[in-house]
């Protein structure tokens, strides 16, 4: 290492002699390049050579390989994602849509909201704590890059069996990572998901959502403009984090980058997060935005400097280029090669385009926040992305060619097993009689998927910033946006891998419907959708079919509901060996609340209130929690979807909340009415007495069916008639089933469970598993 300082000093022939420059590449067209190790196919490599009219340099090869990776280019999913582009009225409130770092929605009163969900699945399996932590860090920077102040996070988690040995390693690590990073950033965590299934044992899902708020005028774009403007890299220094792949380059036959033939240093694939630096970066960026000191801004995520420079330059249009001097990039490890500098995924970095006239002010703001900022290049008018290192040109490419990437229409085929799966409905024996139903309810309530999540959620600060009106365990998180007008936003995420395995089209619509319903339960109007598509290998035609179906279902569902998809993320190759996870699209829905003081909670609060079930209950148990918990069975078809009915239900709740008619509202989902009522009892600390015949003639069906489009609400008895009339005017079936009373869950003619017993079962599960 000691010689690298000497090497860096003369920026002339000495450094360049050993460097794989554009000239060297042109002169040595036959040099072998490790493109396969970097993940490029023969065809892709040939395409790069064709674009450049020569072989790429080592640095260019690194740049194309990361930009054309599945992760950055969406090459397998792009053809399908196009279906999600909002149409007509759906697009009405979008200020920025798919393609931006995160979509932006107009919520009125001059406010705009941006939100997005992203996966960090694979890193969280390798190193749960840091993997999950940096997942939060990455999505927060996406939101920040839009010009918004990040105001909350959520986390949707899937693990292997709760009692599996490895889950005891992965789950606590993931949760502590999210807690460590999110809490330290001062972002309230207002909800998420936690579920378990053997299909995630070797491939947990860690999806993080961030939401930010800004004024309309604050919207920023990831665009380089104005030749002569400066390119500024700021935040943490660049180190060898996450460049495992790049060491391939250093050890390849032409290896000249390191300059001294020294074996490539170890390059960790694990990134370590520094939430404190990210907090400084957030405050620094917001002050830069407020001072109008940036022309364009981009966060550095996967593919680091390569991606930020390429996308900023490409975003500027065909005439715009950028010249970057890689010697100026502040390094934590001076032995990094140009390829490694480009690929490094060091966290907590941003890149801004700044006019020379504002450079001084920009630097002063960064200094105030102790954020290192370095001018590493400038915007040019030549349409080329050019990078130099030690006097030689190591990158010279048209940026659009790297930013666009290939697009594949991969083969897809409906797996033949789908039919067998559909035919294998849950025909198992059903519990009969009060004692058996009671037992079934307790078994479900204590199952890891449905048990109290406090073990996890108590590790998250849900209230920092003082605007959290609702958070877990409520159906949706609700944040106050304006203290004077009481405007707010609600958020929920949902996904159900079992439903999607049975039918990815319907399963995705059910996830959309559930998130939509959860948002509506707070009293907010659902307005926009984000999604994270977690699937297996795109090279498997069956998986591609699942993906295509899921996207088709989401697109059609959003069109029916009249709300746009504003963005999202695709995570592929989620599998262990040949076995893919259940297709698991996680859907996030954002809603607007006109007056957060009229929020609605899920707990039974008011003694004597009338309990009403909304929606229609059919015998639908395919993919249900009951089949899973009682029989370990997955088969049949998921519940039917009626999005128009969902919409009517949502409108009813919003209207009733606005009119002050609701004492509580809780949606019905996994585990059906039984679980919803038990949760409402436990959250409110009040018992209830209900009869099931108004719900379904079969007690079992009434309790455990998972028919969509339903909710259980309570209203004061004197307002019950008014509420029921309102329900009918919205064309929503409403059946009064009992009252809030006592300290047990009492079902006429069936059973009676004291709240203490319910609580012990519900609360005991996760602590017993995880300490």
């Amino acid at each position: 290492m000691s010689d690298s300082g000497a090497e860096r000093a003369p920026k002339g022939a000495l450094g360049a002699r050993n460097t794989d420059t554009v000239e060297v590449a042109a002169a040595t067209p036959e040099a072998e390049q490790p493109f396969k190790e970097l993940g490029l196919t023969d065809d892709e490599y040939a395409k790069v050579r064709q674009i450049l009219g020569r072989r790429p340099t080592a640095a260019e090869l690194a740049l194309y390989s990361v930009m054309w990776s599945e992760h950055c280019s969406y090459k397998s999913s792009k053809v399908h994602l196009r279906n999600l582009a909002p149409r007509g009225a759906q697009a009405g409130r979008l200020l920025a849509g798919i393609g931006a770092n995160a979509g932006v929605v107009d919520i009125g009163q001059g406010y705009a909201v941006t939100f997005k969900i992203e996966s960090h699945n694979h890193p969280s399996f390798v190193e749960p704590h840091q993997g999950a932590a940096t997942g939060v860090g990455g999505i927060v920077r996406d939101i920040l890059a839009m010009g918004a102040r990040p105001v909350a996070v959520m986390d949707a988690l899937r693990f292997g069996p709760a009692d599996a040995h490895d889950t005891a390693r992965v789950l606590p690590g993931v949760v502590s990572g999210i807690s460590f990073y999110g809490n330290c950033l001062g972002l309230p965590n207002i909800g998420g998901e936690l579920s378990f299934d053997p299909c995630y044992a070797g491939n947990p899902l860690v999806n993080a959502l961030c939401v930010g708020v800004m004024r309309h005028a604050d919207l920023k774009a990831a665009v380089a403009s104005g030749p002569g403007n400066q390119v500024v890299l700021f935040g943490s220094r660049t180190g060898p984090d996450g460049v495992g792949g790049a060491s391939v380059l250093a050890s390849a036959t032409f290896a000249g980058d390191a300059g001294d033939g020294r074996a490539a240093a170890k390059r960790p694939s694990v990134q370590v997060g520094d939430p404190f630096m990210e907090k400084l970066l957030i405050e620094c960026c917001l002050e830069l935005f407020a001072g109008d000191l940036v022309e364009g801004i981009q966060d550095l995520g996967a593919a680091g400097v390569a991606c930020a420079t390429t996308e900023l330059a490409a975003g500027g249009g065909p005439q715009v280029g950028m010249r970057v001097d890689l010697d100026l990039v502040p390094l934590r490890d001076p032995s990094l090669t140009p390829a490694e500098i480009l690929m490094s995924e060091s966290q907590e970095r941003m890149m801004a385009i700044v006019t020379p006239g504002k450079a001084g002010e920009f630097a002063a703001v960064c200094a105030k926040w102790d954020v290192e900022a370095t001018v590493i290049g400038e915007v040019t008018g030549d349409g080329l992305l050019t990078m130099t290192w030690r006097g030689g040109t190591v990158v010279s490419i048209p940026p659009q060619t790297a930013a666009d990437g290939p697009v594949y229409s991969r083969p897809l085929a409906r797996p033949s097993a789908q039919d067998e799966l559909a035919a294998d409905g849950p025909a198992m024996p059903r519990p009969d009689g009060g004692a058996a139903l009671r037992q079934a309810l307790l078994a479900l309530l204590g199952s890891p998927d449905l048990a109290d999540k406090a073990w996890v959620t108590q590790q998250y600060d849900a209230i920092v910033r003082g605007n959290t009106v609702l958070a877990m365990p409520e159906d949706g998180g609700l944040l106050r946006v304006d203290e004077d007008t009481h405007l707010g936003i609600a958020l929920a995420t949902d996904g159900n891998g079992r439903y999607c395995r049975l039918d990815p089209y319907l399963g995705t619509q059910l996830a959309l419907a559930e998130a939509y319903r959860n948002v509506a339960m707070t009293g907010a109007r659902p307005m926009a959708v984000t999604n994270c598509l977690n699937f297996g290998s795109p090279e498997d035609p069956g998986v591609m079919w699942q993906l295509a179906e899921a996207v088709r279902g989401l697109a059609a569902g959003c069109a029916t509901l009249g709300i746009p998809v504003t963005g999202g993320n695709v995570s592929l190759y989620n599998q262990t060996g040949q076995v893919a996870i259940h297709p698991t699209p996680v859907i996030g829905v954002l809603g607007v609340h006109d007056d957060v003081r009229r929020r609605v909670c899920a707990g039974f609060g008011a003694d004597g209130a009338t309990i009403i079930v909304l929606g229609e209950t059919r015998d639908e148990l395919g993919g249900s929690a009951w089949a899973h918990v009682a029989h370990g069975h997955l088969g049949g078809t998921p519940p039917a979807v009626d999005l128009a009915a969902e919409q009517r239900l949502g409108e009813l709740i919003v209207a009733a909340a606005a009119a002050g008619l609701l004492a509580s509202a809780h949606d019905l989902s996994d585990g059906g009415l039984a679980i919803a009522v038990a949760e409402s009892c436990l959250r409110g600390g009040n018992g209830c007495s209900i009869a099931l015949d108004g719900v379904s003639p079969q007690a079992f069906t009434a309790l455990f069916s998972e028919s969509a489009g339903r909710a259980v609400v309570t209203v004061r008895p004197e307002q019950a008639a008014e509420f029921v009339a309102l329900a009918h005017s919205h064309d929503v079936p409403a059946a009064a089933i009992g009252t809030v009373t006592g300290d047990s869950l009492q079902v006429h003619g069936q059973f009676d469970i004291p709240l203490d017993e319910l609580a012990a079962v519900w609360q005991g599960t996760l602590p017993a598993l995880f300490g």
């Binding site: 330290c184 001062g186 102790d370 600060d461 849900a462 003082g466 003081r597």
Partner: protein, 222 residues
């Protein structure tokens, strides 16, 4: 007061506003206390909680002014990270250590007001019960037995967890004060209990109305 990594500073400012006073932002790098009547060190992760919570913030330039001012009687309230900073700066005795279960805990806790005679608790009655959120990873108060005895003897335990301390705090101590009672530190967050819309109660507001009342009274007397 805002240090790098302070998080609940705007919440503290809001609580001051709710109590009817004017919050004045102070900045860690300025020595100037801007003539304020009282100072709140807010919650958060100053300097990322690296090394030890509050250990690095203690050396901020502003602490150079605050420490002597506090010793001379300026009312100071340290909440959570602010409490940790006050201990690290030796304005309050003892230290805050890792929660017994080694996990961050966020939940509402019940507190008993033990000392209603400090500048920050005069609006409460001794024995009053408050419901306030706790959210911290290193909230277990620790000190040697002599110090703990002395704190109890001198009535310097200000608030106590009503049930067993969820974090393993010595003698269920949630907050303490200086010998003169002007400096108070506590782990739970009264500034997050000023409005039932966004917190479990409005029980925490008393910390802020107490101090504002003290100055209003003094102003009237003047």
């Amino acid at each position: 007061m805002t240090f790098p990594g302070s998080l609940d500073d705007q919440d503290a400012a809001r609580a001051v506003r709710y109590a009817g006073a004017e919050p004045v932002p102070l900045w860690h790098a300025d020595r100037d206390l801007r003539g304020v009547d009282a100072v709140i060190l807010p919650g958060g992760f100053s300097y990322g909680d690296y090394l030890r919570c509050g250990a690095i913030a203690r050396f901020s330039p502003v602490m150079g002014s605050l420490v002597p001012a506090a010793r001379a009687g300026l009312p100071v309230l340290g909440i959570c990270n602010g409490f940790q900073i006050l201990c690290e700066a030796h304005l309050l005795p003892g230290a805050l250590t890792r929660n017994a279960a080694l996990r961050f805990i966020h939940r509402d806790v019940r507190l008993d007001v033990v000392n209603a005679g400090t500048a920050w608790t005069s609006g409460y009655a001794a024995g009053q019960s408050l419901t306030v959120p706790l959210k911290s990873g290193e909230g277990a108060y620790a000190a040697d037995p002599e110090t703990l005895d002395e704190l109890e003897r001198a009535g310097r335990v200000v608030v106590r967890y009503a049930q067993a301390a969820p974090n393993g705090s010595a003698r269920d101590i949630a907050g303490i004060c200086s010998a003169e009672g002007n400096i108070v530190g506590l782990m739970p967050h009264p500034e997050h209990a000023i409005d039932p819309l966004t917190g479990p109660s409005a029980d925490g507001l008393g910390f802020f109305t107490s101090i504002v009342g003290a100055f209003a009274g003094a102003g009237a007397a003047r």
